[in-house]
């Protein structure tokens, strides 16, 4: 038997392309957020509402990732924002290469913000960097307050966390403080936004945070 040391990153190919993506975005001063959540947490509803709320101040582009259909892209299109739908045909996450192709079909010379809505899945998308400036995890109160404890990786890596559907709080056994505490155990800098994309409650704080992040991003260097 002979042993050969390799010591090479396994996802180096994805990482290489993700770095190219982040370079493409940085050159054009585009802040990129990668939204990750379980299916049905309300990512698209949040996104459509945010775009409508901030589109006078910020030029937003969207990449929609789904296993199949362009239902989400159609909903985003109604806001007037440029959107690309990527169908992964069964794959449980978006890869950097898909984003790279998506960027070629977006008007990236005229954007301030790119939001990538990843495939609904709280595990797999976490492992694949896409070239984003930060990850945003969305948790809805109907899913239960134990998700940060059960799926710690994404909560440890995210820059911000949205707790959606707070209009349902009185109907479900969701302990807001417990979810917040479990999510921040490994991530003290995590920004948390409890909101309801349906009623609009709490949307302002979230939208303001995005605008603040764009400003910060565009004035750095």
């Amino acid at each position: 038997m002979k042993k050969i040391k390799i010591e090479k990153k396994i996802l180096s190919e994805n990482e290489k392309i993700s770095i190219q993506n982040s370079f493409t975005l940085a050159q054009r001063n585009i802040l990129c957020l990668n939204m990750i959540s379980s299916p049905g947490s309300g990512k698209t509803t949040i996104l459509a509402r945010t775009i409508n709320d901030i589109k006078d101040k910020v030029r937003v582009g969207v990449i929609e990732g789904d296993i199949q259909t362009d239902i989400d892209a159609q909903r985003i299109k109604e806001t007037g924002a440029p959107v690309i739908q990527i169908n992964t045909e069964g794959a449980c996450h978006l890869s950097a290469e898909q984003i790279s192709k998506g960027l070629q079909n977006l008007p990236i010379d005229n954007l301030d913000l790119l939001i990538i809505e990843n495939v609904g899945n709280l595990v797999c998308p976490t492992a694949f960097e896409l070239g984003e400036s930060g990850k945003v995890v969305v948790l809805s109160v109907a899913e239960g307050d134990d998700k940060p404890a059960k799926y710690p990786s994404i909560f440890a890596k995210a820059k911000a966390m949205i707790i959606n559907k707070i209009d349902l709080l009185e109907h479900v056994d969701f302990d807001l403080e417990k979810a917040k505490k479990d999510a921040t155990v490994l991530n003290k800098d995590l920004k948390i936004f409890p909101l309801s994309a349906r009623t609009g409650q709490g949307m302002e704080q979230w939208n303001n945070w995005i605008i603040e992040q764009i400003k910060k991003y565009q004035t750095q260097e």
């Binding site: 050969i4 040391k5 010591e7 090479k8 794959a91 595990v123 492992a127 404890a149 440890a156």
Partner: protein, 114 residues
């Protein structure tokens, strides 16, 4: 499920090395940090499926899980973090900073001797 894509990447890297070494690979060791959420059984299953009828068929894939580490900001020691208990084992402080999680690494491949 992301294990499938990871298995494909490992398979490609091992196959390339097998051509270079002109030998049949028997096993490979990979290491990964805690935040990678990699399941060894799922990875093994995916690799078996992908490597069928290739030079990699029958290979064993061993996964070494590396702990997530933190530095205590009060007493300065480095320790392994448990998701459910982040306290410093030395001074019980919760004032810590996480160190970067280890990436997925293909550490070594073992080949049959020619």
């Amino acid at each position: 499920m992301h294990e499938t894509m990871i298995a494909e990447s490992i398979f490609t890297q091992i196959s390339e090395e097998a051509i270079k070494q002109d030998a049949k690979p028997v096993s490979a060791k990979i290491s990964c940090g805690k935040l990678n959420a990699l399941n060894e059984d799922v990875l093994g299953f995916a690799f078996t499926a992908i490597s069928k009828d290739t030079i990699c068929e029958g290979m064993k894939i061993l996964v070494e899980h590396k702990p997530l580490q933190a530095v205590c900001k009060d007493c300065d020691i480095k320790y392994d973090v448990d998701f459910l208990n982040i306290k410093c084992p030395n001074c019980q402080s919760e004032n810590m900073e996480l160190l970067p999680d280890s990436p997925l690494i293909l550490e070594e491949i073992e080949f049959e001797k020619e």
